[in-house]
């Protein structure tokens, strides 16, 4: 199985997103690099709006991910509640 | 189809045809395993230039800064012209011994392996 990944700018908003991703994807690996945070996982990564909102303590739209997103790898599917990255093999 | 184009039978302008070089042709020279010179070098010379000028002027001009240059045994040098083994004739014009426009002349100097033997 290939790894999907996501990299975010290292800032306050991203910290909440990373916390949420870690909670929802317990096997994910989080790597801190200068100015950025890379999260990778075998096969799939999910970002749930609800979990992020809980960590941030305020409303958050999934599309707002773009503000802090640096890069990603995997097939993307996005709706109002989740963003999912997958490799299908 | 020599190119995918909207225009049928499209042809491109040949930017480097020999007529554009004001009577010169381009010749490339490379010294194998001496990469202190990062790439082969290019010269624009007249086609009737004698090979002796390559030996006496162009090669020293390009490569004499190498610490091994003075130790080259020119009698033992192995030449390649456009990838084929080649025996140059000093008193014959380049064009008359097959060194035509955009030809590559490579030389190999057996026993000289570059700075500290690293091919540099």
């Amino acid at each position: 199985m290939s790894k999907v990944y996501l990299a975010l700018q290292d800032n306050e908003e991203s910290h909440s997103i990373v916390e949420a991703v870690e909670e929802d994807n317990p096997n994910a690996t989080v790597i801190y690099q200068p100015a950025m945070i890379r999260i990778e996982n075998e096969g799939q990564l999910v970002i749930n709006r609800e979990t992020v909102e809980e960590k941030m303590g305020r409303d958050w739209e999934v599309q707002a991910l773009h503000v802090n997103l640096i890069t990603l790898g995997g097939n993307v599917d996005e709706d109002d509640d989740t963003l999912t990255l997958t490799w299908k093999d | 189809m020599a190119v995918a184009a909207i225009t049928p039978d499209y042809t491109g302008e040949r930017l480097d045809r020999m007529e554009n070089f004001n009577g010169n042709q381009v010749v490339y020279l490379g010294w194998d395993h001496h990469l202190m010179f990062c790439a082969p070098v290019a010269f624009a010379v007249q086609p009737d230039t004698l090979f002796s000028k390559v030996l006496d002027e162009l090669i020293p001009g390009a490569f004499s800064q190498h610490p091994e240059f003075d130790r080259v045994d020119w009698g033992a040098v192995q030449w390649h012209l456009n990838g084929e083994a080649f025996t140059p004739q000093a008193d014959v014009a380049l064009i008359d011994q097959g060194v035509d426009h955009k030809s590559i002349l490579r030389f190999n100097t057996p026993g000289l392996d570059g700075i500290a033997g690293t091919g540099s």
Binding site: W87 | M36, T118, S120
Partner: protein, 510 residues
């Protein structure tokens, strides 16, 4: 009265489907003239889907937010004299190369996407291209803004657009994009949207920008990551177009495969410039080019191509060569620029002992074996006051236009030479990849504007090389070019940072 908010999917559907109309009084082929000539078959444009489902209102909203954040940081950087806080003035030379070599490509990408967006019959594809076009325009603008601050304090930034069109090494990225933009719309999408954005821009914008951060360059890392946040969307678009093309018709598969082979090779050649920026131009090291290549090319691309295997798409043909070359290209590129620094609008230098040791550690199989002795020799010459400059002009590859500094991977000290004869004329190449690209479409590449040949033809001024460099390229000779050591950049940097000599202080105090 309650208003129901549309879901993301509904909004996207309404924007990209309901805005389309039937072409009742003009022939479809007449409206979309470029859709068919490349041999790509589209049967149903409605299958096109943007997985982010981005609509114009959301686009403006989030782009505006990104811009606000970005400009706040530019302001802070300028107000705090950020230029003095980078690790070392040598670092700024990477930024010069970025401004002259990369930023104009953003502008070319803007042009390219604006153009192809008009050529597609599907409205979803048109909307996506329009947004990407705007993104690219934003990138070039923010990059120029960010680097304009450096222009006030360092040499070599002043004429970047002029230089991009003329200077020998800048013909490498320029011709890369010219090639893509003069292709048909589908090839452009595979070239830039997929091969470059999906597979290769990560190598430019992620590890290098992380490196900029690590070298105190807040302005660059910020525009880099801000641009890359758009790239994440572009990458996704790139992957979607590939899947869309492959699903539309089986006849598309071999065409797309050939484009992938071509553009990944073209891209890795262009990224040679980035390889040397990573390994040689960042004083504080984050990761080597080789490591970056492993993460962002080998790992990412193998996942990607495994995913595409179900369509019959294979790993690009020259990937194996590119993987072997990761051990060499940064050193070979730095050698090229060290040889010809007198003809460049930025400075080079030899690594110091600590930097050489880092290279030995990161490249245990190649650096000491092939490159270290060469560099130590150059350093000795410099110490003796005879800094080596190559007095000739280099031979260039007809396709990638890079000086022929690449070697055979089974014999790494032997220059790789390839040649084709087309209609009685010889054409020379650095690699199988570049030769095959030429051989497939010779009528395109016979037109290559090779800087060295143009100089020989008398089209770049002269008669001396100094005239070409100074008048035609507009390099400020003795200022922008030559080794970093002894440059005005170095002198200014030392003046900012050197404490007043202790003796002078004592004199003033008494």
């Amino acid at each position: 009265m309650s208003t129901r908010k549309l879901s993301l999917k509904d909004k996207y559907r309404i924007l990209t489907r309901d805005l389309e109309w039937e072409y009742s009084y003009r022939d479809y082929r007449e409206i979309f003239k470029q859709e068919a000539f490349e041999g790509i078959k589209i049967t149903d444009w409605s299958k096109w889907e943007d997985p982010f489902r981005l609509t114009m209102d959301a686009y403006w909203k989030y782009q505006a937010e990104k811009e606000k954040k970005l400009y706040a940081i530019f302001d802070a950087f300028a107000q705090n004299n950020g230029q003095q806080n980078v690790t070392d003035a040598r670092y700024v030379n990477a930024i010069k190369l970025f401004l002259t070599g990369v930023s104009p490509l953003e502008y070319q990408a803007y042009n390219g996407f604006a153009h192809v967006g008009r050529q597609f019959g599907g409205v979803g594809a048109r909307v996506a291209c329009q947004m990407q076009s705007l993104d690219e325009l934003r990138h070039v603008q923010t990059q120029i803004h960010a680097m304009s601050h450096y222009n006030k304090f360092f040499d070599g930034f002043q004429d970047f657009t002029h230089m991009h069109d003329r200077v020998w090494y800048l013909s490498v990225p320029k011709s890369f994009f010219d090639d893509a933009r003069s292709a048909g719309p589908f090839e452009f999408m595979v070239a830039i949207g997929f091969s470059f954005e999906y597979v290769l821009t990560n190598l430019l914008f992620v590890p290098f920008m992380s490196g900029a951060a690590y070298n105190g360059d807040m302005a660059t890392v910020t525009f880099g990551f801000s641009a890359q946040s758009d790239e994440a969307r572009h990458m996704t678009l790139g992957l979607e177009i590939i899947k869309f093309l492959l699903e539309q018709h089986p006849d598309n598969v071999p065409v797309v495969q050939r484009w992938i082979n071509k553009w990944l090779w073209r891209g890795t050649r262009v990224l040679t410039l980035v390889a040397m920026m990573m390994d040689y131009m960042l004083p504080n090291k984050v990761m080597s080019w080789k490591e970056s290549f492993e993460v962002y090319f080998e790992e990412a691309a193998s996942a990607l191509f495994k995913d595409l295997a179900r369509y019959g798409i294979e790993m690009p043909r020259y990937a194996e060569t590119a993987i072997l070359e990761k051990e060499h290209v940064s050193h070979q590129a730095w050698s090229i620029f060290y040889n010809y620094t007198h003809a460049a609008a930025f400075h080079t230098w030899m690594p110091d002992d600590k930097e050489m040791d880092w290279l030995s550690e990161k490249y245990p199989d190649t650096f000491d074996k092939y490159y270290r002795a060469r560099f130590e020799h150059w350093r000795e010459l410099e110490r003796a006051g005879e800094r080596y400059y190559n007095p000739t002009l280099p031979m260039l590859c007809q396709t990638c236009q890079i000086p022929m500094g690449f070697t055979e991977m089974d014999n790494p000290t032997l220059t790789a030479y390839r040649q084709s004869v087309y209609q009685g004329e010889r054409y020379n190449f650095c690699s199988d990849g570049c030769k095959d690209i030429f051989d497939h479409e010779p009528e395109k590449y016979v037109q290559a504007w090779l800087p060295v040949h143009q100089i020989f033809q008398g089209n770049c001024g002269g008669p001396d090389i100094e005239d070409v460099l100074g008048d035609y390229y507009r390099i400020n000779l003795g200022v922008d070019n030559m080794d970093f050591h002894g440059s005005p950049d170095e002198a200014r940097w030392n003046a900012w940072h050197n404490l007043q000599p202790a003796e002078d202080k004592l004199k003033q105090a008494s």
